[in-house]
């Protein structure tokens, strides 16, 4: 297929759910239950999925040149003009978009499918009223926004859809708005995101002001040029916390990602967001929306200076560690998954930060699959157990819901990065999800932290050469880097991309790149080690969750009796399980690898060239594989060891751990802190402002509303208390006093009148008599002297 067909397909894919949304809004009641659900499934996700698949297949078939051409020729339509800058709407057509688009549609489709089953019961009742079709309308709206976010080529549109997904998440978290928890959760989610968007806005302002465009590609190009020329944003000497303006730009944009992807310290909303219906948690708060932050960083990667990326890495690292620790003590199955999500998102962000662009996205996709599956599994469990979420009341459910149990287990394996290190079948390593993606991140992190200096030395060999404007070479270089970055984890696992990876390494860095490359610092070692350590924690809490839920003996007979599973709900599980496996091996990574050169082709990025063929590196990676690859064994063992027979052991540990445990259980008291500082603080300020308004400002105008009335009563016989007189007297209390002064001579005694008049006349006459010459000087200075 040729021309703009790709874009048209994608556009249709985006619009279809939109149309579905409106039809549901107006006709939802007619469609009824479950009609509305099926309708949503088809329009909302069926159509896009078909289109996405079609596009994907075509895209895979064409060669790089064609792809480049298509990317180049993607159509743009003028939408509006900000000042002099034209804002164009269009579709960013590249491998990344297509991959993400497919991933989203695929997962969303099955989650829609699942929702039909999930909502078939009483789950669609809000305060006893059925809101079935409204739920699917929201889902469709979300689908529209998410797909729009994925395809948009312009920062402003990215932001618009960004906010729209936020809105959907708000609406869906608060789906059961008759209960207090969702109400607070939804506000928390939206406002916290807004905090991030505040940063996003600042970043956008900087882009707009310095790069004079909001188009992602153009912005990147201008950014690179300005760097090379040391002009524009790089010309300003402004620094904050030692960050240059360019860095602040990157960090600002990243703030948005921190909000959406719930990175520390803005992570607080995600756990609470679990108050929403489970499919929502799976779709929005595990698979797609929360990943949007990572996607954003990937998109604006080229606007990030090394300092900015360092900041990103640090945030990611902190998040992944802290959240994993909290996950250890969670007993609510969804909360547990939520924290694991946070931790995994931390990994992705961390990966982005340390330059593992491909790996991070790869992890995003694999994680999307298995985490969606896990959530759906938990949803199945919860629905089955009549909305019991406490794992301590579960146990032994494998008999009641085998499919769920084993698919869930696959998820556990995937997230733990289970695989057989070093063994390759047909050139591909054996493992699931994390085994590839997470380890790849760690590998890059390792290079950045340990072998950066040696790496530099190697790289300096290639210094100099042609200018960065030479697109092709840049592409190749970028490609080579990204591919090889993950080489050890996969060996030459027969990805088509290795080919041009290897062939391309002749490419060299432009002066600009070389220069920045000089001052790109190595990654602090602690980051790497934290990430590594967390790789050991993850398997533990996941296995713990699985075991507590499905293994052992039933701890709550009542729950156990109710437990059941329905095909409508476990079919998606199976599909997604398959998807996880599929995603770990095929398609996605290639696409990212292919997108990488363009998406990361800006001056400063090459500096984070993950690795080269230095023997040291390979060695490092090969032992790294064993180190991480084995982690899940230890984790599982420990988990089974503790939870193998009931919760007693855990209880003991809990008692011994004491304060530490409470610290984790209370999530480091961050929520309490925020509530104290922000919410309370803001309300206090607001109240102050309000009082200022009613008491201080009105004092200036009408001197304290109520005091005014008291004054009115006081002055009397003709001013009634709540009348306009009272108020206006208040408004003009001063003038009333003046009035009293003015009328004070009006005593009613004629003699005093005469006396007063005579006195004034006398004064005037005296002035006349004793005035200095010339006459008119004293009376009033002349106009000339005042220059009127």
């Amino acid at each position: 297929m040729t021309g703009h067909t790709y874009e048209i397909c994608l556009a249709l894919g985006v619009l279809s759910p939109m149309i579905g949304f409106w039809l549901l809004v107006f006709g939802g009641r007619v469609l009824g239950k479950p009609g509305a659900g099926w309708f949503a499934l088809v329009t909302g996700m069926g159509v896009p999925l078909v289109l996405a698949t079609y596009v994907l297949l075509c895209w895979l078939r064409v060669d790089d040149a064609t792809r480049a051409a298509l990317t180049e020729n993607a159509a743009r339509f003028h939408w509006a003009t900000i000042g002099g800058v034209s804002i164009d709407i269009g579709i960013k057509l590249d491998s990344l978009t297509i991959a993400m688009f497919f991933m989203v549609t695929f997962i969303a489709f099955w989650i829609f499918f699942f929702s039909i089953g999930y909502m078939s019961g009483h789950s669609d009742e809000v305060d006893g009223k059925r809101k079935y079709w409204r739920f699917f309308a929201y889902l469709s709206l979300f689908a529209f926004s998410m797909l729009g976010l994925v395809v948009s080529s312009n920062l402003l549109f990215l932001f618009i859809f960004w906010e729209l997904v936020g809105l959907c998440s708000y609406l869906l978290i608060g789906f059961y708005f008759h209960e207090p928890t969702p109400q607070y959760a939804q506000i928390k989610a939206f406002v916290t995101n807004r905090v991030g968007d505040f940063g996003f806005l600042i970043g956008m302002m900087l882009v707009f002001f310095h790069l004079k465009t909001l188009d992602l590609d153009q912005a990147a190009v201008v950014f690179g040029e300005q760097y090379a020329a040391g002009s524009g944003i790089f010309a300003s000497g402004f620094t904050m916390f030692g960050w240059s303006l360019a860095t602040i730009l990157g960090i600002g944009l990243f703030c948005g990602a921190m909000g959406k992807s719930a990175q520390f310290p803005l992570h607080v909303w995600l756990p609470d967001a679990m108050a929403g219906p489970t499919p929502v948690s799976a779709l929005i708060h595990a698979a797609t929306m929360v990943a949007a932050g990572v996607y954003l960083v990937a998109r604006v990667f080229r606007l990030m200076t090394p300092e900015a990326l360092m900041f990103v890495a640090a945030i990611g690292c902190i998040t992944l560690t802290l959240m994993a620790l909290i996950a250890l003590v969670q007993v609510d199955i969804k909360k547990c998954l939520a924290y694991s999500t946070l931790s995994q998102l931390g990994y992705m962000i961390f990966g982005m930060g340390c330059g593992a662009w491909v790996a991070a996205l790869f992890h995003l996709v694999t994680h999307a699959f298995f985490k969606a599956m896990l959530f759906l599994g938990s949803g199945q469990v919860i629905e089955g157990c009549h909305h019991v979420q406490d794992m301590r009341r579960m146990g032994g459910l494998r008999k009641k819901m085998p499919v769920t149990c084993w698919t869930f287990f696959i998820g556990v394996l995937a997230i733990s990065g289970a695989g057989i290190a070093g063994v390759k079948v047909g050139g591909a390593g054996i493992g699931l999800g994390g085994f590839f993606s997470k380890d790849e991140i760690l590998a890059v992190a390792y290079v950045r932290s340990h072998e950066w200096t040696s790496y530099e030395r190697v790289e300096e060999g290639h210094g100099g050469g042609h200018g960065s404007d030479e697109h092709a070479s840049a592409v190749k270089v970028g490609a080579s880097r990204v591919i090889l970055a993950s080489d050890p984890a996969h060996g030459d696992s027969g990805h088509g991309s290795t080919a041009h990876g290897a062939s391309a390494h002749g490419g060299s860095h432009a002066t600009g790149k070389a220069a920045i490359f000089e001052n790109t610092p190595p990654l602090p070692k602690w980051m790497f080690y934290l990430a590594l350590a967390t790789a050991y924690i993850t398997p533990f809490y996941m296995m713990r969750a699985w075991w507590m839920t499905f293994m052992g003996k039933p701890r709550d007979q009542h729950v156990y009796d109710h437990a059941h599973e329905t095909p409508m709900m476990y079919i998606p599980l199976a599909v997604l399980a398959g998807g996880t496996a599929f995603a770990s091996y095929f398609v996605f990574r290639d696409l990212f690898a292919h997108a990488a050169p363009d998406a990361t082709d800006a001056a400063m990025v090459l500096a984070i060239d993950g690795t080269t063929h230095t023997p040291a590196m390979s060695a490092a990676h090969s032992y790294l594989v064993y180190a991480v690859g084995g982690s899940f064994v230890a984790g599982f063992a420990l988990a089974i060891g503790i939870y193998g027979r009931g919760l007693d052991v855990a209880e003991k540990i809990k008692r011994t751990a004491g304060p530490l445990h409470t610290l984790l259980e209370k999530k480091y008291f961050i929520d309490e802190l925020y509530h104290l500082v922000w919410i309370k603080g803001c309300l206090v300020v607001a109240t102050v402002a309000r009082f200022f308004d009613t008491w201080v400002l009105d004092l200036a105008y009408n001197l304290l509303g109520s005091a005014t009335e008291r004054f009115a009563v006081f002055i009397g016989r003709f001013v009634d208390v709540h009348g306009v007189d009272g108020i206006v007297n208040g408004i003009s209390k001063t003038s009333l006093d003046v009035s009293d002064v003015v009328r004070s001579p009006q005593t009613g005694r004629i003699r005093s009148y005469v006396m007063f008049a005579a006195m004034v006349a006398a004064v005037v006459i005296l002035i006349l008599v004793f005035k200095p010459e010339p006459s008119h000087r004293l009376l009033i200075p002349s106009v000339a002297s005042l220059g009127g």
Partner: protein, 558 residues
């Protein structure tokens, strides 16, 4: 028959008709005439279609002061004196005219249930004043003779006073007189400026030899001072005389002090901290339709005033005060948001949110950048759509519950689903959600402000502080939604009917506009406004540049 004259005085006819027709027909007559006015104003569209495209120059001309549907009739003439009946529209006035007619029409519909109001006496008087008010407002937007402008400005005052004062709530007297006092205080300053500008322009022409070519009309010679707003802005002689530092008024620099006089007059209307305190009271006490008018149109007059008078005529004044004004704008944004956060009265909250939104208008104008002007203009239109909607939403529930205590509400979305949905749209629009009208204005203004950083370094921090308001806005709007619409159904509100057909029509039409403006800002607004705004800004910046070359620096005392 000049179209604008028809638009302006048609409501007046309706008003008179309201006095004569039998009582049971008054409503119909009023609605009909406001609808007719709306229809007439829509006739303006053909003039401005294609403003975004090739024939932009044909529509907006090559310099500020290209007008359409102009009518100039001598009114009060003297040997050295010419006050004209001078109407005309350009990209600045046109959208506001349409907005006015639209909001008036909807507000008129909103007063349909007049007979069920608490104070339901004097239906004739009510609609008479209502339509009179509409005439006044339209007049303000199309009058291009300063004297005429002032007349309309004042004419609009008294009907509003009575509409609030007679048909208002418990403390209506207070609110009404407060509104009256504040506005009159502003217009008193404007009056001084009116006289001063006339004579100083006269002096300018006299100094230039007593006869000067008009700034925007071919072959017209000015013999004496003028009230022509466009002339004052475009005639180079007058401009340079106004701007020169040696032109003093009461010992102060003319441009600087005149700008302030006019500014305060309009800032009170806008309203801007600290002149805003009349607004909450007026809104809370006014009946719903009047609130709609007040928020939808009256506030816009302030912004219109800035753009029509302050900046084109006294660019240097704008330059001198830029920092102060921008700060005040930002203060209003944040301050209004904070106050809104603390309110427990539904209507008061919305009123304060207006203060916050109008702050963006001032900020955008004060920084004098393209994006800023465009954003400010858009923000006016957008707010003119969304805030009447919010006020009507308040009115709808007030008609049923007869109170506005936010904390006593709850679960209304379950009780009245359609109402809940509409409310969500309305409030998210005013929250500035992308894809809705509120967003565009804010982003344009923020980017515009940041853009001004090139000339004013202080613009960066201000832009950032203003941007922080997105959090604040979200906070108070969502909190409001939670308290009013979410939660369990309350017994006391169980029986309430969902919005009626009439109410739905009003809400829906506004909601559609909210979304349309958000998705197609260019087609709906920018194509009509940008032409004029850009030309005006260009002229303003040129003037400033010219003056700064002749090294006349700011400072109040010359």
């Amino acid at each position: 028959m000049n179209l604008l004259t028809a638009i302006v005085f048609l409501p007046m006819l309706g008003a008179v008709a309201c006095l004569v027709v039998p009582k049971n027909l008054v409503r119909q007559v009023a609605v009909l005439s406001s609808a007719a006015t709306l229809g007439l104003s829509l006739w303006l569209f053909p003039t401005f279609l294609g403003g975004g495209g090739s024939d932009a120059t044909a529509i907006f001309g090559t310099s500020y002061g290209t007008l359409h549907h102009v009518i100039r009739l001598p009114w009060i003439m003297g040997d050295s004196f010419s006050i004209e009946f001078f109407l005309g529209v350009d990209g600045l006035a046109f959208p506001l005219v349409v907005l006015t007619t639209l909001v008036s029409f909807l507000a008129c519909l909103a007063s349909w249930n007049f007979n069920s109001w608490k104070v339901n006496k004097g239906i004739r008087a009510y609609f008479f004043l209502f339509l009179l008010l509409e005439t006044g407002m339209l007049g303000v937007f199309v009058a291009l003779d300063f004297f005429l402008f002032y007349i309309f400005w004042e004419v609009m005052l008294l009907p509003m006073y009575f509409l609030i004062g007679v048909w208002g709530g418990e403390r209506k007297e207070y609110a009404a007189i407060k509104f009256f006092l504040f506005t009159l205080a502003g217009s008193v300053l404007m009056l001084v400026a009116l006289v001063a500008m006339f004579f100083y322009s006269g002096d300018a022409i006299a100094a230039a030899g007593g006869s000067v070519a008009s700034g925007y009309l071919e072959g017209v010679m000015l013999q004496h001072g003028t009230f022509d707003l466009i002339e004052l802005a475009t005639c180079p002689t007058i401009q340079s005389y106004f701007a020169s530092g040696s032109t003093l008024f009461l010992g102060m620099k003319f441009a600087t002090v005149m700008f302030m006089f006019l500014f305060i007059g309009f800032a009170i209307k806008l309203p801007i901290f600290p002149f805003h305190t009349w607004l909450p009271d007026a809104h809370v006490q006014a009946p719903t339709p009047v609130s709609m008018i007040l928020a939808g149109v009256l506030l816009k007059m302030g912004g219109y005033g800035f753009l029509r008078l302050c900046y084109p005529i006294f660019p240097t004044g704008g330059e001198v005060w830029a920092y102060v004004l921008a700060c005040v704008g930002v203060i209003s944004i944040i301050y209004g948001g904070l106050c809104a956060l603390a309110q427990t009265d539904f209507k008061r909250l919305v009123a304060y949110s207006s203060v916050s939104h109008m702050g963006f208008v001032l900020l955008g104008i004060a920084v004098m950048t393209k994006a800023g002007f465009q954003g400010a203009m858009f923000q006016m239109i957008a707010h003119g759509i969304s805030s009447p909607m919010c006020f009507f939403l308040v009115g709808v529930i007030y008609d049923r519950a007869h109170h506005r205590e936010i904390n006593r509400f709850g679960g209304l979305w379950l009780t009245m689903p359609r109402y809940g949905t509409m409310a969500t749209i309305g409030f998210f629009a005013s929250l500035g959600l992308p894809g809705m009208c509120g967003f565009i204005g804010e982003v344009w203004v923020l980017l515009g402000t940041f853009d001004a950083g090139a000339k004013y370094p202080w613009a960066y921090p201000l832009a950032i502080i203003a941007a922080a308001s997105v959090i604040l806005t979200a906070a108070y709007i969502l909190w409001l939604i939670r308290r009013v619409y979410l939660g369990k159904e309350r017994e006391e509100y169980k029986g309430y009917l969902d919005v009626s057909g009439r109410e739905t029509f009003i809400l829906a039409s506004l909601a559609v506009l909210c979304i349309a403006l958000g998705i197609f800002p260019t087609q709906t607004v920018f194509n009509f406004t940008n032409g004029t705004l850009d030309l005006m800004l260009q002229q303003v910046t040129n003037a400033i540049a010219m003056v700064s070359q002749s090294a006349v620096s700011g400072g109040l005392i010359g």
